[in-house]
Symmetry: C2
Subunit: 341 residues, 2 copies
DNA sequence: CTGTTAGCGCCTTCAT
DNA sequence: ATGAAGGCGCTAACAG
């Protein structure tokens, strides 16, 4: 056992209560005493046992962070930002990577965070009623990223408006037959973006007086392969689209690959716009909708931090997105300019 | 308070000691009693307080995982694999994302994992003597990924041999003037790969009887931009290389961008090979060295798990890598075939 | 300002 | 097979 509070107390010549107060920075400790305790603690390389402290105080300086898939760029970015903010504030992060639907069920039924966190953050999941209820039983502030629920803190973007903007960009370029490469709305993991981004796509078309064509909506996995498969289907249509809106940059890359493999050109034969502004989007010269990824995570963490010191009413923060026009929608000197297919 | 052990004991008509034994699955509990306790616990939705349990038992079913940057693909992948293995085994993961040199120092001096984890895993850091010593004071098994230290568990690849193989591939293609785009060997974060991959590069050239040219070795950040900057310098040489080995796929992408922007062609003017086999490497048609990323994380986690049940001698596991030849080194029908620059 | 004391909730010998 | 009781190490009232 690496030194207990009693040893520190003995060495500093005070009671353990004073040691606790001094080390916690509580008031009512003489400066000289505090100094003596600090020195004793340092000399013994003492730190309070988090378990004992947690048991006694009810707080534990730990927050649980739940992500669907750490390995995906978006979540890794969000997680990194959250961890930075929290660790700067002296909090530790318990990570829960759901990975699949089973992991998700296991998390919400087992609730491994029970009795061991001061707050919980959940990223990009469309929560069911019972899941929200389960989080409620934790009796700690809960924050969600990418969506909003009554009673929970939230930080997000306006996926519908952002997607509408992407499609409006294509419309402004003269495109009338525009495809959607979306996320699976039936995916058991139920992410929040797929539905919203499809809604934005539809709204933009309808506002332009263009009839929706179910054939032009292709849903699949949020991956490069998913985007490629979807694009292949769109290219096989009797009347293929002249432009597509992909719900993520990765799907857009897959679409581009399918277009090239079909011997067609981007953006002349098919214009492509993605969503995210992934780090490689510039390299790929991909038009896209930029969303503040790390910032969403950071803001959510900050929000929870303030909630932890003085329970405030749940807040909902909506951050801005930005249309980024590159060579995949507008012909110009670019990596596409000299690519035959 | 969400139900204590006493309530369960009362409801099951036994003592709290029996509840503890039954729930922990310890022997010497009558089947009927165990069943009664389980039911009572389920009905009260009871779980033991991890803090109280940890205080009393000394174990806490939690593992600390330290990564330099969660947001980088490699670490996100590794972390995801580690989390999966550990959570399947009933362990929780405390994540520490160092982020920068200050974060690194803070971690090793503060040691926030003290008294709160059963084991620690550290990814890809070239540890200093005092850092290893600090980890030693934790008195728990420690595993490292990507390198090896006496007394610690390790899982890694042979970076030197793998890099040598990449350069040998270029040599076999007839290249004689081969550049290195490496990681910064003076980076304060001191990763393990930069040194080893440079060593492999040098070994391959020397074995082929080619004199090393310091001008051909460019070190920088392990990012796309870093690779681009390095390539720009190489292209500015009086006698530019006909091929380059980039120490990561991301750096290779940057190199490709620089080559294109200089109006040159891949692989005809400059052949490029990367390292990792990042998910997008196939799309980019990038030749590279594939390393098992998730598997390294998974194996390390499994190793620690077995160490936790019966302290075994530290082990060192070296996994295989594989050369993947694509269009960035060998001319063929590819995305490069029709790209002017 | 400081010490005393009562838990926090559970695990784990030691009896029985 | 089960119960009783002593901590685990610390925080937080309450005295003084």
């Amino acid at each position: 056992m690496a030194g207990s509070i009693e040893e520190v107390a003995a060495r500093a010549g005070v009671s353990i209560a004073t040691v606790s107060r001094a080390l916690l920075g509580l008031p009512h400790v003489a400066a000289a005493t505090r100094e003596r305790v600090w020195r004793a603690a340092r000399e013994l390389d003492y730190v309070a046992s988090p378990f004992a402290a947690g048991l006694a105080s009810g707080r534990c300086s730990t927050v649980g962070v739940v992500v669907p898939f750490v390995k995906r760029w978006f979540f890794a970015e969000v997680l990194g930002a959250i961890e930075s903010v929290l660790s700067d504030a002296g909090y530790d992060v318990l990570l829960y990577n759901l990975a699949d639907i089973e992991g998700r069920e296991r998390f919400f039924t087992t609730l491994p965070v029970r009795k061991r966190v001061d707050a919980v953050l959940v990223a990009s999941l469309a929560l069911t009623g019972s899941e929200v209820a389960a989080l409620g039983t934790l009796q700690v502030p809960v924050g969600v990223l990418g969506t909003r629920y009554p009673g929970l803190f939230s930080v997000r973007i306006d996926d519908v408006a952002a997607s509408r903007g992407a499609v409006q960009h294509l419309l402004a370029l003269g495109h009338r037959r525009i495809g959607l490469i979306g996320g699976d709305t039936d995916d058991p993991m139920r992410f929040t973006p797929p539905l919203d981004r499809r809604a934005g796509y539809r709204q933009a078309l309808q506002a332009a007086g263009i009839a929706l064509d179910p054939e032009l909506e292709r849903l699949g996995h949020f991956t490069l392969e998913g985007g490629q498969a979807a694009m292949r289907q769109l290219l096989a249509l009797a009347s293929r689209p002249s432009a597509v809106f992909a719900a993520s940059d990765e799907m857009a890359y897959g679409a581009i690959r399918a277009i090239r493999r079909a011997g067609l050109t981007v953006p002349d034969d098919v214009a492509v716009i993605g969503f995210d502004d992934h780090a490689t989007a510039e390299l790929m010269d991909l038009s896209t909708v930029r969303q503040p990824v790390a910032e969403q995570g950071a803001r959510l963490a900050q929000t929870l931090l303030t909630a932890l010191k003085g329970a405030i009413e749940p807040t909902d923060l909506v951050l801005d997105t930005e249309l980024v026009v590159r060579g995949s929608t507008v012909a110009r000197a670019s990596v596409y300019a000299d690519t035959a297919g």
